[in-house]
């Protein structure tokens, strides 16, 4: 089991970073320049880990990024990677979707504590923005998740994946829920127009303002793990999971590139605009899907 967890972390780390490298590269191409290589995130990460010094404001500041990384690894662990495989199945049976929903916010809370300890008002502003945005962002996502749980009468991800083999993919069965979840995902990935917390022009790169060296490196690494976890989750819930690593990469990359193409063409919303938007359009779309499930099977 421990070996498999390590395997999982390595896969997620590598894939996450390569995806982010690709993201930077594609962004560059869209902006009409070459951009960095797709390995650029590795360079950044290793450089930051090998910094000679890292500023720290005491033990809570030190522990914050670690809690965040722990949250990311835990999230990753509880998401089944493949259909019909024993890979980490002994872990994933220990929890269900509700656990996952709350594990996903555990890390950010730890980070928020560290940011508060750092005492930079810009950092706390970023956290507050993030938390204010969060309940707008979570609403359509929760609707989608609850809809799927009701539709498949199970909060067990493996069971939801298995059902899709019989009933067809959820993306076709519940397209409204999928759209709602995807709009939320744009925000969860920190893409425009919902990239409010870390806006460098407004709040000095927000929650990450005070983090340097190995702390920043850890935050970046957990970011890539977490991003991969979220992609796999969407794949599992809506695209029926994957049978092999190749298929998994294909499906997650398809979702990722969709998110990029949505995010890249928009400017940034204000917090109030973002939450207002999220509470209207995606919520409404999600509600249509949910009502369809409750009252029309």
């Amino acid at each position: 089991m421990i070996l498999q967890i390590l395997e999982l972390i390595v896969i997620a780390y590598v894939v996450g970073f390569i995806y982010f490298g690709t993201y930077r590269n594609i962004t560059a191409r869209i902006q009409g320049r070459y951009g960095p290589t797709i390995y650029q995130s590795f360079f950044d990460s290793i450089k930051l880990f090998s910094k000679k010094s890292s500023a720290s404001f005491g033990w809570m500041f030190y522990l914050g990024p670690i809690i965040m990384a722990t949250g990311a690894v835990m999230t990753l662990m509880f998401i089944p990677l493949f259909n019909d495989s024993d890979f980490l199945r002994s872990v994933t049976v220990q929890g269900n979707l509700f656990l996952l929903l709350y594990l996903m916010v555990l890390g950010p809370l730890g980070n928020a504590l560290a940011v508060g300890t750092g005492g930079n008002p810009f950092g706390v502003m970023g956290v507050t923005r993030g938390l204010s945005r969060l309940f707008g962002l979570e609403l359509p996502f929760y609707i989608a998740i609850v809809g799927l749980i009701i539709a498949s009468n199970s909060a067990d991800i493996v069971h939801i994946m298995d059902l899709q083999k019989i009933n067809g993919l959820n993306i076709w069965n519940h397209p409204f829920l999928f759209i709602a979840a995807m709009i939320s995902m744009v925000g969860f990935f920190g893409e425009s127009p919902f990239d409010i917390p870390g806006a460098p022009q407004e709040v000095y790169s927000g929650p990450r303002t005070e983090f340097s060296g190995k702390f920043l490196a850890l935050l970046m690494s957990q970011g890539s793990l977490f991003a991969f976890a979220k992609l796999v989750l969407v794949t599992d819930l809506f695209l029926g999971g994957a049978d092999s690593l190749g298929m998994l990469l294909l499906k997650t990359f398809a979702i990722f590139i969709t998110l990029i193409f949505i995010g890249i063409v928009y400017g940034r919303y204000k917090v109030s605009q973002a939450v207002d938007f999220l509470m209207k359009i995606p919520t409404l779309i999600g509600l249509i899907g949910l009502v369809r499930i409750i009252w029309f099977g």
Binding site: S50, S56, M74, L99, L109, V124, M125, T128, L134, A155
Partner: protein, 591 residues
């Protein structure tokens, strides 16, 4: 800590312990009425909860600040609650209820902050609650000719339908007032914030639970969950009564959550948070399914533990620093590290995060809603949970993180041990419930049996089972600890040197160097930006105070009108009295 009263508070617990589960006592009052105490499982559950809370709060109380009368009143209050939860008939229940009301009223009035207005609010709403209760009692008596719970329960189904509905509404209103359901919560926030700091813990953790106990008594024991479902029909997979109640509870929690975020006073935030959490309980209590009742009971325990912990924590800080506002506190983390850790455990549980106890109760409640297919209620509840992260963060940031907002905070020391001991006990309880969420199921199952519900599946201490998948609390917490330690070790091993404990002014501040006079604490402004979000602003700008203020005005005018009758002229008064009695006579003759 007053040793005498500590022992005195220990006595009822020992008494309860040696009762052994089957206790019955009745004192005949007259031929028709008897006062009776009956030990039930649910009563025992609530009794342990309240008596334990009293004990922990007594540990924290400082002797020199409090008079003997305070302790005596508090003891009377705890006995009143004992009577309430074991009452076997309405008269005993009502006596307990009234003793609770006045003893708590005097306790609140002992606070230095208590003003006339908040005290009046408290007593008026308590009286309102009592009036609803007594109205319900009298109507019940008119139709069943008894005050005894067991007899009423067996004959309740023969009462006409409209009377049944009236009774349910009357009793619900009475207990909603104590639990602070939205619209009836007007007294809660002022009372909690004005009461003595440690008594707020009792108010929020225990007294509000008496409302919840009342709801259990009515829905579970007297009406019966099955009858409740039959009475009102069903919607989706649950009862329509439960559906309405679920929406009432969830709307309560959403509104209270947003209100909590914008508060500046620490105890007001906690008061609103208390309303929000009780909203969850109200939301699942009426579902009438095993999971609904189990979730409500579970959350009752968790909320009691959390609110005791948080209120004692805040009371300690307020006592130590003399400040009770976020705009005056801040930056205490390295001054009072142990307190910080305790509060942290509290808020992680309050937010319902997985490795600690708070998650298990949320898990249970969510499953209850899934079970009955109340999807929209569930979404609203999850939404309220997501919004509550913001006030949880404000609580910990405003007090402990960031920079101190007042000068005397620089010299702050760790709070006294008497405050810390109860907090440590409560924190350990939260960690324990996080690791062994199943442990509590064994406590809940006898209660469910008593309420004629199916027991919920139990498989091991660490596992929490449900209709839609389960989770293993022990696995989650141990995985969390192991991964955390591994990453911590790796971080220590990395050569990059952490420059620990930098000066708190050494922050990236656009090249500037902030100093003592720079305003660096963001706690005050946190939540103010919510006003710009249209939906949230629509909630925030509404308030029940206008309604109640205008009600008070109208009552004043009406009483002025009445008082004119007595003004001077004896002839008018005589005529009115004559008219009144003749009217009574005619009504009496005709009926």
């Amino acid at each position: 800590m007053n040793p005498i009263f500590l022992l005195l508070n220990l006595l009822p617990i020992l008494f309860l312990y040696q009762l052994g589960g089957d206790f019955h006592m009745s004192v005949p009052l007259s031929q028709e009425f008897t006062l009776s105490l009956v030990q039930t499982h649910i009563g025992t559950f609530f009794a342990y909860l309240s008596l334990g809370s009293f004990l922990l709060v007594t540990i924290a109380q400082k002797t020199k600040h409090l008079s003997w009368s305070y302790y005596v009143l508090q003891f009377v209050l705890s006995i009143a609650m004992f009577v309430i939860v074991f009452a076997g008939d309405f008269i005993t229940f009502f006596i307990g209820w009234e003793v609770m009301t006045w003893s708590s009223y005097f306790l609140i009035s002992k606070s230095l902050n208590a003003d006339m207005k908040s005290l009046q609010k408290y007593i008026l709403f308590s009286l309102g609650s009592a009036f609803f209760l007594i109205a319900g009692m009298v109507i019940t008596y008119a139709f069943t000719n008894t005050f005894d719970f067991a007899t009423i329960a067996s004959t309740f189904q023969f009462i006409p339908f409209s009377i049944k509905v009236t009774l349910v509404v009357l009793f619900s209103l009475s207990f909603f007032i104590k639990a602070g359901v939205i619209g009836l919560h007007y007294w809660v926030v002022d009372t909690y914030s004005k009461a003595p700091d440690l008594f707020s813990a009792i108010l929020s953790a225990v007294m509000s639970k008496m409302g919840i106990y009342g709801l259990f008594l009515i829905y579970g024991n007297i009406v019966g969950f099955y009858e409740l479902k039959e009475m009102f029909g069903s919607v989706l997979h649950g009862s329509s009564f439960g559906y309405v109640l679920a929406w009432i509870g969830v709307i309560t929690s959403i509104i209270a959550t947003f209100k909590a975020i914008t508060q500046d006073e620490v105890k007001r935030l906690l008061a609103y948070s208390s309303i929000a959490q009780l909203g969850y309980i109200v939301a699942v209590i009426g579902l009438g399914t095993s999971f609904g009742v189990a979730g409500a009971l579970y959350h009752t325990v968790i909320h009691t533990i959390i609110k005791l912990l948080l209120f004692i924590n805040v009371a300690a800080i307020v006592a130590q620093s003399g400040k009770n506002k976020f705009s005056e506190l801040g930056g205490l983390i390295y001054k009072t590290p142990l307190s910080f850790v305790m509060l942290l455990i509290g808020i992680i549980s309050l937010a319902g995060m997985p490795p600690l106890g708070g998650f298990a109760s949320k898990f249970m409640m969510y499953n209850a809603l899934i079970d009955t297919k109340f999807a929209l209620v569930l979404v609203a509840m999850l939404f309220s949970g997501a919004a509550s992260f913001l006030y949880c963060y404000k609580l910990v940031y405003g007090i402990y993180l960031g920079h101190p907002n007042s000068k005397n905070l620089e010299k702050q020391k760790e709070v006294p041990l008497t405050y810390l001991i109860p907090q440590i006990i409560l924190a350990l309880a939260l960690i324990g419930l996080g690791a062994f969420p199943g442990a509590f199921v064994t406590v809940i199952n006898p209660i469910l049996k008593e309420l004629l519900l199916a027991p919920i599946p139990y498989s091991g201490l660490g596992v929490m089972q449900s209709v839609v998948g389960n989770f293993n609390g022990f696995f989650v917490i141990s995985a969390f600890v192991i991964i955390f330690l591994v990453i911590l070790l790796l971080m220590f091993r990395i050569k990059s040197k952490a420059k620990n404990n930098l000066n708190r002014f050494d922050i990236s501040y656009c090249g500037e160097v902030p100093d003592k006079n720079t305003s660096l604490h963001y706690g005050y402004g946190m939540g103010s930006e919510l006003h710009r979000i249209k939906f949230v602003n629509a909630i925030l700008k509404r308030s029940t105070s206008n309604f109640y203020e205008s009600l008070a005005q109208q009552t004043k005018k009406a009483s002025q009108l009445t008082s004119r009758m007595y003004y001077g002229n004896i002839h008018n008064t005589a005529i009115i009295i004559l008219l009144f009695f003749s009217a009574l006579y005619f009504i009496g003759v005709n009926s």
